[in-house]
Amino acid sequence: MSLTPQDIDRIANLARLELKPEESERMLAQINGFFGIVNAMQAVDTSGVQPLAHPVAAIQDIALRLREDVVSEPNNREANQRSAPAVERGLFLVPKVIE
């Protein structure tokens, strides 16, 4: 299996990455090189095997915990927005989305 330049464009769009032409070209070669070692995975018979998400689930039941649905965070707006690229009157600014 080999990716095409069109695949790279499609994935870059999904990943919201603008790639320069020479970057796309290098990426195509490198990702295809990498998939050379992935093919070994396809030959493994995994029928009946449950996927493992939390590794400790290999030995015991692991349920992802939910915390109580109560307010636990104080209002920390100033600190939270200190590193924001654009803020006005406590709001994050983005380019106009609706005309």
């Binding site: 990455l17 603008e18 990426m27 070994a40 995994t46 030995i59 939270n80």
Partner: protein
């Protein structure tokens, strides 16, 4: 007290508790050594912030409220968010970022009394095995400055090896604590997945990322690990409800009857002879102390490379979607609309390895490919974890090399990312299984570079691993040797 920088965490803690030195004196000594940023190990240094913490520690030491590690300095890998220092994860996209809170691990070590020296260089978002993927320049190995320190916790390993910090935090996703510890001749441990909170640890691959300590001795690692671990129920949904433990309690127990599993797949033709010789010598020392070696098999060792390099990028592509130039981080100057702002901000902010992993991850999660790649990888991941459980029927701990070779030359793999991936072969299996693993100095190989012995334990058996490492360090002095001039 000019040799303070060569003392262990334990020795420093004793001197501080008995008031033979003050936290400010200790911090001042390390800050002086950090001047000029040797080996490019640090990304942020702020003497005032460090000294303020040291003064607060001195006050606690004076009024009897000191923690067990009060006044002992530590430096944090730059993937842990900190209020007092900038946090970049080695990426341009987070240049100058200030977190509104401290990571749980940072906060716990501070509660134990540790004073933060600064933030340590690492591969961008912890993606790398040589620390050459940092947006702020590579880190040099203190043993040979033309060689890599390993990665991704390369700054952490170099700082400890060069006596710039008595201990450091690291994170291990596929070997990022063990491999740099091995390359720089120090000790490092990654606990069982879920032991240490991931809250405030900038996520790379959520189902693999684990924090752990790096220091000169196993005993020092035990001291830090005891302070770092414990449930963080409201902050990290993957944190396990396993109580904190004193990992120093069983240090010194004898090794009589200990069965050490030797996976044949870790000693194949890919392993360099110099590394093998050092590892064999360390194993011989352990058998001299009463341990027995048991041949075992981890048949899917080689498969762990594709499995890891599918799962980790998939999770990374999702985790790194938060860097979009809206709430924090870099925003491009020129763009036409919201989508072009995202695309340009991310293109300018991320380095090439990070882009490569985001692309790979996005692809394997995209419509029509999920089952063939991500799901298939997660299934093989379970088979790998089961292989370990089978192996542990015959042995108590597993031992082998950390990496196939000693640290390579800076720039050697620059145009061949897959070469770096292949070198992760011995650390990836334990990461995928979520098992605790560590690296202990085992000797020296080619070019006089350090070699680590990897020890892998069953779930929650960190104390046992640390004891084996401690016993080895009682009989050898590799962990005490230092690069020239340190």
């Amino acid at each position: 007290m000019n040799d303070l920088h060569n003392l262990s965490v334990k020795a420093l803690a004793n001197l501080l508790q008995t008031k033979e030195v003050s936290a400010v004196e200790v911090a001042t000594r390390f800050l002086a050594r950090m001047g000029g940023n040797p080996h490019n190990a640090f990304l942020d240094i702020d003497s005032e912030a460090t000294l303020a913490q040291a003064r607060a520690s001195d006050a606690k030491l004076a009024n009897g409220t000191a923690g067990p590690l009060e006044g002992v300095p530590v430096a944090h890998k730059d993937v842990f968010v900190t209020q007092d220092f900038a946090t970049t994860a080695g990426s341009k996209i987070l240049s100058g970022y200030r977190s509104p809170f401290d990571a749980t691990v940072v906060q716990r070590l501070r509660t134990a009394g540790m004073v933060t020296l600064g933030k340590l260089n690492c591969d961008e978002f912890a993606m790398g095995s040589a620390n050459e993927n940092s947006a702020y320049g590579a880190v040099q190995n203190p043993w040979d400055t033309t060689r890599v320190p390993g990665g991704s916790s390369g700054g952490s390993a170099a700082a400890v090896a060069a006596g710039l910090a008595p201990a450091a935090t690291g994170t291990d996703t596929g070997g990022s604590i063990r491999q740099p510890a091995s390359f720089c001749g120090i000790t490092g441990i990654k606990p069982t997945y879920g032991r240490a909170s991931r809250y405030g640890m900038i996520a790379y691959a959520s189902s693999l990322d684990q924090a752990g300590p790096m220091a000169r001795t196993a005993e020092d690692c035990a001291l830090l690990l005891s302070a770092m671990c414990g449930p963080d129920a409201d902050r990290d949904s993957t944190s396990l409800d396993v109580p904190a433990e004193d990992f120093t309690a069983s240090l010194g127990a004898d090794l009589k009857g200990l069965r050490i599993g030797i996976p044949q797949e870790f000693f194949g033709e890919g392993l360099h002879a110099d590394v093998r010789a050092a590892v064999d010598a360390a194993l011989a020392e352990l058998t001299k102390q009463g341990a027995t070696l048991v041949p075992i098999s981890l048949p899917r060792t080689e498969l762990s490379i594709p499995v890891y390099y599918i799962i980790a990028p998939a999770e990374a592509s999702s985790n790194l979607s938060r860097f979009d130039g809206v709430k924090f981080g870099h925003r491009a100057k020129d763009y036409t609309d919201l989508e072009s702002m995202y695309k340009k901000s991310r293109a300018e902010g991320f380095g090439s390895e990070v882009k490569r992993r985001i692309m790979t991850g996005t692809y394997v999660l995209s419509h029509g490919y999920y089952d063939a790649y991500y799901l298939q990888a997660q299934k093989i991941r379970r088979m790998i974890a089961d292989d370990f459980q089978n192996a542990f029927k015959q042995c108590d701990v597993i031992a082998g090399p950390v990496a196939p070779s000693v640290a390579w030359k800076l720039g050697e793999n620059a145009n061949d990312p897959v070469a770096d991936y292949l070198a992760d072969i011995f650390t990836l299996p334990a990461s995928l299984a979520g098992l605790p693993g560590m690296s202990v100095p085992a000797g020296f190989g080619a070019h006089g570079m350090p070699v680590g012995l990897q020890l892998i334990g069953n779930y929650f058996k960190e104390a046992q691993l640390l004891n084996v490492a401690h016993r080895l360090q009682q009989a050898t002095d590799f962990h005490l040797r230092k690069p020239e001039g340190i």
